[in-house]
Assembly symmetry: C2
Amino acid sequence: MNHNGNYRKPSGRITAEAIAAKLGVSAMTVSRALSGRPNVNKKTKEKILLAAKRLGYTPNHIARSLTLRKTQIIGVVIPEIAHSFFPEVIRGMEDAAYSAGYHLILTNTAEDYNRELDAINTLQSRRVDGLLISTAQTVTDHSVYKDAVRLGTPIVFFDRVVQNIGASCVSIDDEDCCARITEHLIGHGYKSIAHLSGPPSISIGRDRQRGYRRALEKNGIKFRPELVERAGFHEKGGYLAMEKLLQLPARERPDAVVAVNDPAAFGAMKSIEEHKLRIPQDIAIVGMTDDVRAGLISIPMTTIRQPAYEIGKTAALTLIAEIEGKSKPGKRIIVNTELTVRRSCGCL
Amino acid sequence: MNHNGNYRKPSGRITAEAIAAKLGVSAMTVSRALSGRPNVNKKTKEKILLAAKRLGYTPNHIARSLTLRKTQIIGVVIPEIAHSFFPEVIRGMEDAAYSAGYHLILTNTAEDYNRELDAINTLQSRRVDGLLISTAQTVTDHSVYKDAVRLGTPIVFFDRVVQNIGASCVSIDDEDCCARITEHLIGHGYKSIAHLSGPPSISIGRDRQRGYRRALEKNGIKFRPELVERAGFHEKGGYLAMEKLLQLPARERPDAVVAVNDPAAFGAMKSIEEHKLRIPQDIAIVGMTDDVRAGLISIPMTTIRQPAYEIGKTAALTLIAEIEGKSKPGKRIIVNTELTVRRSCGCL
DNA sequence: TTGTACGCGTTATCAA
DNA sequence: TTGATAACGCGTACAA
């Protein structure tokens, strides 16, 4: 018994060597026949293929990876699985990977920096061919990423990206999105627009806030810091932030709110409703990301649709191209978004 | 250039051998020190650990897997990713796997039998330690599973299970669930209850239909075959099936509908609404699985909550126990469900 | 067209 | 406590 609690058991599986022995050829010929190389006699090839099938031969990909130094595996690091956005992203990645002969190892960091570190390390020790990463909220130190890139592991960031460290990034233009939806409100006459902001440690949070501010300034509306309240990415934070905003004297209150994402907006809606205020008549509200729920709740929410599937697929295709040397790292890829106007903004 | 389109590039990574050379010890000692074995001199161990860190050593898990014939990888085969049920299942699996030192390779079969075959084969050639499978709708031949089990790859089925082939199964008691929700309707006075059934090729479909029928019979209601319409698992099928039911002469129409799952029920609701019928006054409807949307739509839907996270976690824990020889295969594990009464059944 | 020798990076085994 | 050797199963390179 070794330290793992496992006996060293024989694999029990047929090897190329075994097939070779049975057929009186060398293992090399078997290998060639099975990987479809041209230089094998047609008849011996047929014999080998037949024997392989009869014996239930399954090539050992581990051994293959060891010699080739190529695993055909992509490591995926995401901060949460259940949020409706990521499953779609993963579906896009899986489609792209499957078509190109890669597999996905999925790791969930649950927004925890240490788990993310651990994930990246163990994925590297598994010698994944590349990494697809969306960073956890608590990440501040980028040296792990830099080390990986330096050691030759291609990385493509998606959604929550880290720029300027030599890795490609696939995301929406957060600043622009937020500016757009803010201008949508401005265009419909709202003057006192608040922002429920994301964590400033994440690019998404910073960029969206910048977009909000840019839209105000461009339209000659004075930026009022007291109208920006930190909410984070979740419902609870949105609720608490909105509670704070509603403590402002009535005449200083916002007439519209731009939330950093849909969950935060849902939380805020709850707070607004608890205060017996009407949406959108008393306070309009908009989100971002188009969570599945956005169109289903009693006051359907105006938001910005992010093409999750496309983000996943694009990120995977970009990574695979870089792994195979067909494309250079360091790209910045922006995928298009779409303003989805529903009732919560009062513009319908 | 080999047939893969890849040059054979040197790994560029530090090996245990390299550390050994620098320190004037053997590779074996390095290996022992790094895997925390007891029989290493404390001082040499420290030296080795330090050197490993300084040189940025990442153990090669591939080589390790090759000798140990153990990958610490679990292959997950699911029919669809985006359906809200599976992300939660995967989260449960990931949590369990992470704690036990395993990784998940995720494969999406998109309900396609050939893709499922392919997935299971390539996962086996990657020598995964075990498989977690929810079968695709189009699967009829179970020999792949049997072969895998015979060759010693543990399998645990979840949700859409295959019983009696020696593999463990984790699921809800579909027959019982469907009987329960049907009896709920009967208990509130509905007499003419229809069933939108799932694909009969899948155990879930068959079992739920059996539960529906059992509930009727147990309560002395005559089973009417014309009230069972095949819907499948998706919205569109539910819509079409309901359309058919609504073509029945008015007095033969059902006053309540038991759908095989929530998406089918959503489709049916759409059809009912298009016919200007009211839910639940004209026709009551219930689903199963508690899709996230069930509670959010304008007429919230009565359904049965399946503990997705728990199913995933239990399946993974069961598999890991079997992989490590701590538990025997062939178990049948039932996880509890919960009737969630909302407005669509008219019982509130 | 086919075979031989060796290497990939690690760990089990047995000897020192 | 440490080291030498072999093995895991395959693919490359070269020779036959």
